[in-house]
């Protein structure tokens, strides 16, 4: 019953998205919702490793950039192949990087792990800066194709693509959260030694976690070069990207798959509204204030607040 409802909503959202491209013609809406969804995917991806598994890290932004640069590489190497190919290849590349990084850093705990992942992001950035083929430090211009099939404009196609990636990210995250794997990840987050003693293959599960995190981050980054048409390392690897990805589940709640979905919607919407109506500098300030507010007042995020509320109400009824 519950399962059917979930799949119904997923299908409905996708169809509404398609319908949206047919009726709306102000491109601003597509740019704005694209940005919200990109943020949401990054929040979902970060949360799989940082929230479900408890490995808080600042390096996730590097995987986003690696996804974007996979697209740039393919664009240059194969004379602008369809974006869909990059969207399929980037998660594999970034998932593999996640697996490798996980293998070498997961023995570290807490703050050491967080710093090691940051170092990984810096290494990736250094590689890109020095790799002229993908534009090096100067960046890479990428012309969006003039002809789009089926849609009125390229941004509509990008919008549908990121919508599909978002829904897939939600499906993957929900599966990981509610399956046996999710229980194992929660056990790792609570107490890794106890988890291992109770038969949870912690190394294997942590590697699954980093691989999926990397893959989803890469998927979020793959269409990005087409979205902004000019990629350069400093903005792609911006630490702010990583901070935003952390803020999303922090606000929504880290324990469940729904947390980053809610957090992404909320934060993304605030961000877009403020950027458009006021200024992008103020936007950052507001994100900061919201984040600090949640961390100090509601560390379990919105889903935690909701659970507390329900618990109190149930107690009240007893």
């Amino acid at each position: 019953m519950k399962l059917n409802k979930f799949w119904f909503i997923i299908a409905a959202v996708f169809l509404i998205g398609i319908a949206f491209t047919m009726v709306a013609d102000n491109e601003f809406y597509f740019y704005a919702t694209y940005a919200v969804m990109q943020l949401m995917i990054m929040g979902i991806a970060w949360n799989i490793l940082g929230g479900f598994t408890g490995y808080v890290n600042f390096g996730s932004g590097g995987f986003f950039a690696a996804g974007a640069y996979t697209t740039v590489f393919l664009h240059r190497a194969f004379d602008a192949p369809p974006l869909l190919i990059a969207v399929l290849v980037a998660p594999m590349v970034c998932g593999l990087i996640g697996l490798g990084v996980g293998y070498f850093t997961l023995r570290l705990k807490g703050v050491y792990f967080a710093i090691a992942t940051l170092a990984v992001a810096i290494i990736l950035e250094t590689i890109v800066v020095n790799w002229e083929f993908v534009g090096g430090a100067g960046g890479y211009y990428l012309l969006i194709p003039e002809n789009v099939v089926f849609f009125d404009s390229y941004i509509e196609w990008l919008f549908v693509l990121i919508l599909a990636i978002t829904l897939i990210a939600i499906i993957v995250s929900r599966y990981l959260n509610s399956s046996k794997i999710g229980q194992g990840l929660a056990a790792i987050r609570d107490d890794e030694l106890a988890a291992e003693s109770m038969g949870v293959p912690t190394l294997k599960l942590k590697l699954i976690s980093t691989t999926v995190m990397g893959g989803l981050m890469g998927a979020a980054g793959a269409p990005f070069p087409y979205f902004i048409t000019f990629v350069e390392p400093v903005s792609a690897f911006n630490l702010l990207v990583a901070v935003m990805a952390i803020a999303v589940p922090m606000i929504g709640g880290t324990a469940s798959w729904i947390g980053p979905v809610i957090g992404g919607l909320l934060l993304g919407t605030i961000q877009e509204t403020v950027t458009v109506n006021i200024s992008s500098e103020l936007n950052l300030l507001i994100v900061g204030v919201v984040l600090v507010g949640f961390i100090s007042l509601a560390p379990q995020g919105i889903t935690g607040l909701y659970q507390d509320f329900m618990r109190k109400r149930r107690k009240g009824n007893d």
């Binding site: 194992g184 929660a186 609570d190 030694l193 291992e196 003693s197 038969g199 949870v200 293959p201 190394l203």
Partner: protein
């Protein structure tokens, strides 16, 4: 003694330059109840850690049910049925009491569970330790004593064939100690071998068929409870000279 279920040979564990275990040999018969005693810091928990795989020993071997498990992960040993409790309870704090039990049922014992509803099977373990009415409470808010009960229930849910019980009874009242002893006797009656670490002498003496004594990382005695009580070395280790 029948074919040993566990045999630890020449096990040495160092922490930096400090030798926590020094060439320890222990073997355990099928369904045997072994007491492991020794003064504070003598290496009892370290030995449990090495048997369960929580720590790797740089020297010596651990054999379980005829196969060499030295160097394998704790989770793979747990799957084989080597299950330990923690001296300082380590519940999964974000989970309810019953969810804590589902972890070993889904993992350590996954191949060995009955096909019945897992929750029902978990409830049975909770009934054994007397936590059945609190199954859905959060485990983080339990008292120390109840955390020990949970620790034991979680270990039972993992369907051990060898249970390594590390001071499960510390802090319990005399009647509670008897309850836990009953639980462990019943478990053993179902064919589970048990190594019990305990400072409560009455309990170890009553429970153990055989007792191993550690002192400063060395095994200084190995024998029946009567032999241990009358052993001069043991007396010296405990009382000093």
């Amino acid at each position: 003694m029948t074919e040993p279920i566990l045999s630890v040979t020449n096990l040495t564990k160092r922490f930096g330059g400090f030798v926590a275990l020094d060439g320890v040999d222990v073997s355990l018969g099928d369904k045997e109840r072994l007491g492991l005693i020794g003064p504070n810091g003598s290496g009892k928990t370290t030995l449990i850690n090495c048997i369960s795989g929580a720590l790797y020993n740089e020297q010596g071997k651990v054999n379980f049910e005829g196969s060499d498990v030295t160097g394998t992960t704790a989770s793979s040993r747990a799957k084989l049925g080597i299950i330990r409790t923690f001296q300082i309870p380590r519940p999964f704090r974000s989970m309810t009491i019953i969810e804590n039990l589902l972890i070993p049922m889904e993992y350590a014992a996954s191949g060995r569970m009955e096909s019945r509803n897992l929750r029902d099977q978990a409830m049975e373990s909770l009934e054994i330790v007397g936590l059945q009415d609190r199954a859905d409470e959060n485990s983080a808010n339990l008292t120390q004593i109840d955390m020990r009960r949970l620790e034991l229930a979680r270990a039972l849910s993992a369907k051990p064939s060898l249970l390594l019980s590390d001071e499960t009874m510390a802090g319990l009242s005399s009647s509670e100690v008897d309850e836990v002893l009953d639980i462990l006797f019943a478990l053993n009656g179902r064919g589970v071998a048990v190594i019990m670490i305990e400072h409560i002498m009455r309990a170890v003496m009553k429970y153990s068929e055989r007792i191993v004594v550690l002192d400063a990382g060395k095994k200084i005695a190995d024998g029946s409870p009567d032999e241990i009580v009358n052993n001069r070395d043991v007396e010296r280790a405990y009382l000093g000279e």
